[in-house]
Symmetry: D2
Subunit: 256 residues, 4 copies
C-alpha cells in the first residue's frame, strides 16, 4: 500500500496557555512537529506532547522558530545565517533531550512560520538550517517546500528532504502558494481539501488558481491544528486518504 | 601527581551584553560551566564559549538555571520538581547540541545560582535535577555542595558526583557556607584564597569562622569569573596549586 | 441602592494565545483587572481589553504580576521590595499609557497571583506595592485581601483600599482563605457561590470550613474568568446580586 | 548664546549586565534616551538612569525599541504599524511612570535601532510611532533623521520634531548616512568628529563622502555611549562645542 505522511504543528501551548487540539489531532496524523520553546512550547508542554505522540505511534520532529513568543514566530526577523544555525541547533537539542527522556528519537525537523518562509526564498538562511540539522543528526529528515531554497540547501547538505504539500491552500501556476493576503488562498470546504489531499498524495499534483495543472510531488501533507474544527478536518483527511487506498505513515518510512 | 579540578561559570554573556572575562579565565581552569540561555547565555555565546573551552583544553559542562534573565537566575522561584527536571533537560540538551556541533561532549552539570542553592536543601528539587541528568546521560558528573541534598540525590540516582569547594568563601563549623549577608563571608585576600584552595585540594579541609577545623573532601574548586580582577585570581589559584604539586584537571579524570 | 463591585482578571491573553472569555465576562463585572505584559497580556491585548471595558462601562485597573510568563505569575519569586516597587510602577505606567490613548483612566490596582499572595503576608513587599501606587497616582484604589499586610501597607500609605472577598473560595475560621491544596477549597456549586456572594456583599460575612461564622467586610468580590463556564457563573453572580437588591458598581463609586 | 543638544542612548544595562558608561557620559550630554525594557533596560535600571539624569540636569526621553533583547533591538522585525504604536505607548508609559516617581517628566522620544531605521523609510510605521507619541503627550519632542519618513510623520501629527545629526558618521551626497557596511562609514578620529559636530551645530552642514557639501539643519547631535572610549569622546565633543561658543542644552529649550 502506498503511503503518505500527514504532519501537524503540535505542542505550541505555553504555560497556562493552550493552543491547538493536540490530543484529538494526534489520533489522525503520522508526524508531529513539536514546538521547542522559542515561538511556542515550554519544557513541560514539550514532554507532554512527545508522550502523546509516542502513545499515538506518531513520529516526532522538531519545529524550531524565531525567538518571538508574542509574535508566535510569524514575524520575519532580519537574522544572520549563523544566528539561524545556532537557534535551530539550540531548539532541536532541547527537544531531543526531552524526547530521549521519554524514549523517543527525533525523526525530522520542520522550521516554523516566518523562519520556514524566509528559508524558502533565502539560500543563506536555508543553508544555516541545513547545517544545524546535519550537525545534530544527518539522518534527520528535513521538511521543505518543494522547489524552495530550503529544498536545495537540504539536498546540498546531503540531507533527506521530505517535500511538503498543503491541501487547504491554493497554488499559483508556478507551484508557489497563493499568499494568504489574497482571497481564496485558504480552502475551507472539507470535501475539497480532502479531494486535493488525495490527489496530491497520489502524485496527481494540484489545480492552480488559474485552472492550470501544477505537477507536484509530495512526501508529507501539512494539516493545521490551531483553527476551529481543525481536528475534525484532520480526521476527515486521514479517512479520505485511507478510503482511497493510501496509508498514512511517517515520511521516509515507506516500504519499497 | 594528584589533581584537582578548577571550575568556573562561563558563557553568561547575552546578546550585546558581556559579563565575565571568559577568554582570560579559560586559560586557568579545567572545567567550564556553560550557561544555557535561561539565566544567561544565548546560542551564539554558547557556541563561542564551547569553542574557547575546546581550544583551551577545558572540559565543558552545562550550567542550567532558572528562566529569570533579569534576575540572572539568582532569585529563588517556587518551582515543582517536575518543572526543574524539565528545565534542566531542556537546557542540557540545547547546550549538548551546540557542543556536539563543535566536536565537544559534555562532561558535567552544575546548577546555577538559586537553583543550586535550593537543590542543596530541598531533596525533591535535587531529585528533579538528578533525574534529568541521568535521563540525558548517566555518565555526566554532577557538581554538588558536599553534604547537600543534591549530593544525596545524585548518589541515589547512581550519578558520579563531584564535591565542590569554595576557596573564597568562609565556612561555618558545620561545613556550610557562611551566608553572603554576613560580614567576612567572602575572602578577598588573594594569598589567603590561594592558601585555602591548596589546603582544600590536598584534603586538609578548611578553618571555620570560629577557628574550628572542618574536614572537607572536594573534587573541584569553584572560582568566580564575573568580579573585577577575577581572572587574575584564577591565574594565581592555578599557579598556587601547581607550585604546591597539584595538577589542575577535570574532575573524574584523575590518573592512578 | 447599596452596591458591590464585581472584579475579574482580564486581558491575560498573549500574542496568539487566548485565555479567558473576556468579551462575555465583561458584560457582568464592574471592575476589570487588566494584565500588563509580565505574567500575561501584551500591548495589543491591553488596548483591546481597555476598549472592551470602556464599551461595557467597566472600570479599568492595572493587574501587575511577576515577570514569569511561563509560570503565569503564579510562582513565588524571591524579590526585593524595591524590585516590586519598580516592576509595579513599570506595569501600571505601561497600561495607563495605553488606557489613556483609549480615553480611559485607571481606577485601581490589583496585584496578580504570587505577587498578591506574597504581599498579603510580607509587609515589606506590600509597602513596595503601596509606594508604587502612591507614586503613580494616590487616587488609585488598591485591592487587598482583608486583614492582610497589603491592607495595612495601603492604609499606611494613605491609599484607598478596597477589601476583596472570594465567593467561590472556602474560608478558615480566622478569615483566611482555605489553601487550594485542601479539598473543598473551591466551591463549585453555582447556587452556593451566588448565595455566598450575596451574603458577603450585604455584610453578612461567611461560614468557615468548621461551621463558625466569620465577619467579613468586603467592597469588591473577585470572580474568575479563566475556568470553563466562568462567564456563566459571573452572569449568575450579577443576576443574583441584583435580584437581591444589590447594585453592581465599581468600588469607591457607591453613593450613600 | 546659540545652543545645540547632545543626546545619547542611556540605561541599556539589564539585570546583572552592564553596558555603556552612563555615569561618565551623563556629565557631558543634555538629553538622555532611556531604554524602556524591550531591547535593553529593566525597571531598576530605568529608575537609576532617570535619577542619574536628574542629578546631572540632563533632559530625559524614552528610547523604545523592538521586543528583542538578545538582538538588542537591532534586528528588523516585520511588525504592523498598530504593533509599533502599541509597543511604543507601552514603553513610553512605563518609563514615564518611573520617571514621575523620581520627579522627572519626559521631554522627548527617540526610537531605537532597527525601529528607528525602519521608521526612517516606512511611513506607515513612522505614523505608528507618531500616533503613540501624540496620544501619550503631544508636547513630547520626537527625534528624527532629517528628511526621513519619521520626520514627515511627526510633522503631520503636529509634533515638535528635533532633527538629529551624527558627528561620527559619514554622509552620502543625498544627505543619508553611509551604511555601516561600507568602509569609512564611522569616523574614528576624535578631532574630526568634534570638528564635524561644531560645523553641524552651527548650521554648516557636512561634507559628503564624495567631497560635496550637504546642507543639514540639526537640533540634536547623537553620541554613542557603548563603544570603548565613548565617554571621553563625548566629553571632547562638549568641550569642543563650548570652546566654539555653542551652549549644550536640550532640544527645544533654546532661549529667545
Amino acid at each position: 500500500m502506498p503511503t503518505i505522511d500527514l504532519n501537524c504543528d503540535m505542542g505550541e501551548s505555553f504555560g497556562a496557555y493552550t493552543i491547538g487540539a493536540d490530543v484529538e489531532v494526534m489520533r489522525s496524523i503520522s508526524s508531529a512537529n513539536v514546538a521547542c520553546g522559542y515561538h511556542g512550547g515550554d519544557p513541560a508542554v514539550m514532554r507532554r506532547t512527545v508522550r502523546l505522540a509516542r502513545e499515538a505511534g506518531v513520529s516526532v520532529g522538531a519545529h524550531p522558530g524565531f525567538p518571538d513568543l508574542v509574535g508566535f514566530g510569524r514575524r520575519e526577523m532580519r537574522v544572520t545565517p549563523q544566528e539561524v544555525e545556532d537557534m535551530v541547533l539550540y531548539q532541536v537539542g532541547a527537544l531531543a533531550a526531552i524526547a530521549a527522556a521519554e524514549g523517543v528519537r527525533l525523526r525530522h525537523v520542520k522550521a516554523h512560520g516566518a523562519l520556514y518562509n524566509m528559508a524558502a526564498r533565502d539560500r543563506a538562511l536555508a543553508d544555516g538550517i541545513a547545517r544545524a540539522v546535519r550537525a545534530f543528526d544527518p539522518s534527520l529528515m528535513l521538511f521543505v517546500l518543494p522547489a524552495s531554497e530550503l529544498q536545495r540547501a537540504g539536498e546540498a547538505a546531503g540531507l533527506h528532504v521530505a517535500l511538503e504539500g498543503f491541501a487547504d491552500r491554493a497554488y499559483e501556476p508556478d507551484g508557489s502558494l497563493t499568499p494568504r493576503s489574497r482571497s481564496g488562498a485558504v480552502i475551507h470546504d472539507p470535501a475539497e481539501v480532502v479531494a486535493r489531499a488525495v490527489r496530491m498524495a497520489k502524485g496527481g499534483g494540484v489545480t492552480a488558481t488559474d485552472g492550470s495543472h501544477v505537477a507536484l510531488r509530495v512526501h508529507t501533507i501539512c494539516t493545521h491544528g490551531d483553527t476551529p474544527g481543525a481536528h475534525e478536518l484532520t480526521r476527515l483527511l486521514r479517512a479520505g486518504l485511507e478510503r482511497d487506498g493510501m496509508g498514512v505513515a511517517p515520511a521516509g518510512s515507506a516500504a519499497p
